[in-house]
Amino acid sequence: MSRIKVKIKEQDLTKIREICQAHNNEPGELINVLQQTQEHFGYLPAEIQEAVAQELGLPVAKVYGVVTFYSFFTMIPQGRYPISICTGTACYVRGADNVLQEFKRQLGIAVGETSEDGKFSLNCLRCVGACGLAPVVLVGDKTYGRVAPDGVKDILAEYQDKE
């Protein structure tokens, strides 16, 4: 275990070991392991990737290669209220881009970034399966349908007073 140079809390390491063991420390289970690890930690920073690599007996480069390949994995912490704009085709033709631009403008962050206070993060995803409600925006688990650029303010306002 001494190979891990970056500091990582003992309890975090225990959690990672637990997840890896649940998959029999099988290198082929890397994606499932990463997915559960991300579910627990919220994101996959370098030190966590190293720990996973160590447990599964894989080179860190390999883990990094997989993390960066799949859009589902993220190396930066998400906001407490992660915002996802659907940019699937149906939402695109019903004006998703204007909605996205408006979110970027109001939050002052780009896609893939998290606001400074850690409250909001902004991401795009492709078709959430609610094309009838296009354009669609998700904030956490909550879905907003038929969103227009001038409705963006109201959506953000809902979370303004929340922690």
Partner: protein, 596 residues
Amino acid sequence: MTRYKMHLLVCGGTGCRASAADSITESLKESLQEHNLQDEVQVIMTGCFGFCEKGPIVKVLPDNTFYTEVKPDDTGEIVEEHLIKGRQVDRLLYEAPEGGKVKDSKHMDFYKKQIRIALRNCGFIDPENIDEYIARDGYFALGTVLSEMTPQQVIDQVKESGLRGRGGGGFPAGLKWEFAYKNQEQPKYVVCNADEGDPGAFMDRSILEGDPHAVLEAMAICGYATGADKGLIYIRAEYPLAIKRLKIAIEQAREYGMLGEGVFGTDFNFDVQLRYGAGAFVCGEETALIHSMEGERGEPTFKPPFPAESGYLGKPTNVNNVETYANVPVIINKGAGWFKKIGTEKSTGTKVFALAGKVNNVGLIEVPMGTTLREVIFEIGGGIKDGKKFKAVQTGGPSGGCLTEEHLDTPIDFDNLLAVGSMMGSGGMIVMDEDDCMVSVAKFFLEFTVEESCGKCAPCRVGNKRLHELLERITQGKAEKKDLQRLKNMCHVIADTSLCGLGQTAPSPVLSTMENFWNEYVAHVEDQRCPAGSCKDLMRYEIIPENCVGCTACARKCPVGAITGERKQVHEIDQDICIKCGACVDACKFDAVTIK
């Protein structure tokens, strides 16, 4: 189920759940309790009804009353009026475009032209209850296969039916099964491709959400036919509802002995596991999918070897799409002959489409192959939204193309769509109207492929990026005429030299829009004009002084404060601040804002 006199079916598809289907179910149950009807009326949350545009939907059985756009507050009225007093709640009935309320779903144009095979149970059963699946002939086909048929007979039946892969390629399913069957190596695997990468489509996840057992049953049948005892479903981790329902279905099927050791008490073993995809379009390609299941980066490899020769962990593997599998139990139950009679000679059966975009009835539909685009868009889809003019329909997602007015009467099947420069794809169908710029649409798809290219081969990694840059320049009015020729040449090189289907088909949206909307490209290049009025760099919002009454409506709507002017004075737009969002046009009741 017999003890209930009536059933209230609440659509539990992703779209309807997004708009409060859960609380509708809850408050329906509460209302029933209040009136002591809980033992007579059952509330069931089903899979997608398909009529997503007007969701959330509640359907009453046995009379088939179809309530649309139901809100949690409406549930009391449904119970008191409809269930107790026997009077339909008129205001919640679907209103036909030509006027008049439609009393039940059997009389809706939306459903009349559809034949539901793959979607047979979606919207009819509770997907979380195996008994309901069984009550509709579920697992009957698996029983028949195990007790009465040899693997070769099963394969022959599927071959005879003419069933072709619904994941896009259209490869004959029976033939594929035969390849895996003939390969003697063990163990073998049966894989279900539920990656659904097309960014405008949701049919596969809807099938899994609405009828997960259909896919499990078909995979077991395929396992028996090919000699595999393990099934794997590759599904996106982003589909929580489908995953949840699949997990429940797998548990129940194991409990009932339909999966696991000794299926149906025979010596056939078959079990299914889930594998999660993590959001990469290229993982829908079968070799990439297999690498991803092995825990690798999902990069495609050259075929041959095909998965049937060397697939998951180097073993024979049969990969089919969700919808392909969903057809199989019906083919076994009703016979290949019955199935073949539906559709066209070379494309038998039906196809599910996720119809969306600028069409009145966005939804999930299933039509016989050979139905024309016009029937789908104008009859089932109810025509174009807001009375606008039809311009194009995009099929095949990022690998497909845009078809026009002149193709509307083309019967939809695998070969016809290819012949007119598009493709079937997995079933996304996006309708566009006069406001959609075709160059921008091509750019939209290229942006997607650039993002999703795995980067393994240069033509796709570099070439598509260059294509996207060129398209960007065209939409900004910065391209020259000779760029159009360069664009075309580059498309052909990329299509010819890319390693996998993603790169090979990435230029299709460009080629098909160039072919069908050449004038639009020329207008951007020669006149720096976007005929659809959608390319922001080529337009200016201006206020016509004669029409402006100074009502301030536009200034209040403008999100960036680009509009100035006193009350009752002519307003003005500051072009340096304007972000061209168009809000002022919608806000002005006096047609005083124009786009130039």
